[in-house]
Amino acid sequence: MTRRNLRERCRSDRDLLLDALVRRFGPVSQGPLFPAEVIDDVLTEVMGYELVDEELPKGQLAVCDFERRRVTVTTRLADNVHPKTDLVALANSTKAHELGHIRLHTEEILHTDRATPDLFGEAPVRVLVTYRDELRKTRLSAAERRREREADLYASIFLVPDRLLEEQPAMLRLRKAVARHEDFSSRYLWRLTYDLARAFRVSGTLMKNRLVDLEVLVYLDKERELRVSRQSMLFDLEEQ
């Protein structure tokens, strides 16, 4: 599946799930619906998964058990991140990532990928563990890395709908400034990214990924710096 197709699938899937929740339980928000507000309910009420908080080994953010339909999020989020990190936002992002695995990879995990017993002769355990640890991520196989990338994309599209993003004051500020050909420091762009992340109750990394995916920003991995992708401002975000 191309990235463009995947994006489209994620968008329509988000609308489908939110619609199912509203149809079943009525309106869930007075104003515009920020999906982070209902990510827990989508997982439990629409997907039929259990959602529990438990202490997990250090470095693990969450475990998704496909067979028993259970998502476990660690209670030790604070151990894994900077002290100033918004833990609720990080939890929302982690849950949306797990939702991504559920919506995109259930078939793959349950029926194909691990169909043979493991080295110990036991039946395979159909779980996915999400790690914070970057080192751990580099040890993943190509298929696991692909799944993680797809779940990340799903999470960012689920939690940050394009139209809602467009209406944010920080986004409007950025658009106006780009139209005037102003220059931005990476520091300013990071601040703007975190302003948007706060508005959507998501992690800064997820918001950065979303803005990069929308080609609003460019991320220079080595320097950890952000730059504006100027041509992107000419397009309607929803059309991409």
């Binding site: 929740l21 079943r24 339980f25 009525g26 869930v28 209902v38 827990d40 309910d41 439990t44 009420e45 259990e50 959602l51 529990v52 908080d53 438990e54 202490e55 997990l56 080994p57 250090k58 693990q60 475990v63 058990d65 067979e67 028993r68 259970r70 691990r114 493991d118 080295l119 110990f120 036991e122 395979p124 355990v125 779980v127 996915l128 563990v129």
Partner: protein, 219 residues
Amino acid sequence: MNRKRLRRGVEALWEAADEALWGEGTTREERARLFGAMMREAVARGECGSRKGEPTLGERLKALRLEQGMTPSRASRQAGLEASAWRSWEASHRVPSVRELRRVAGLLGPGTWRELSRLRRRAPAACLARALATPSPFRVARSVGDGSEAQEAAVLEVRNLDPHLRQALETWCRETRGTAEETVLADALERARGLDEVEREGWIQAVCAGIQLEEEERT
């Protein structure tokens, strides 16, 4: 004989047995004696004391909430409780305190208190059954990596148990193995996973027999 009346009679008997076993006035010794007799009966019948078909507290809580058309977030908000706590009760992961259950019953209807309170007494056993139904931390660790996290994950599984349940498991391990170290508790859970269904049910009942939720109710 009218089937409906017969069923009502059986239900009334269960109610009476339940009250005698878990009621507030029952001492620990009486409970142990009654429980032992009930277990022997059940084992002789090949049922091992379980009340098959009856919903757990979590299942009933969920059904009652859905009857009212509420999400766990909305229900917990209206009852003045934590949404994560509500979800953990529905998932048979934690046992609510009496104070919390009163709030829940206040929201779901005063008529639900008696039933929920009765189901709460068996909730620790449901929590333990649920814990044993999840894949062993050793298997998960081996499946997702090199197994180096297995011991840590097994100990954490013990720490994640409902406090009532952990206490009961500690008591059981102290009585049967002479120690209640976390690694011993983790080993007991691992071994219980290897039991067949009937043996496991018996083990769950034996561990949970020592749990006294009633103390909390009096306060």
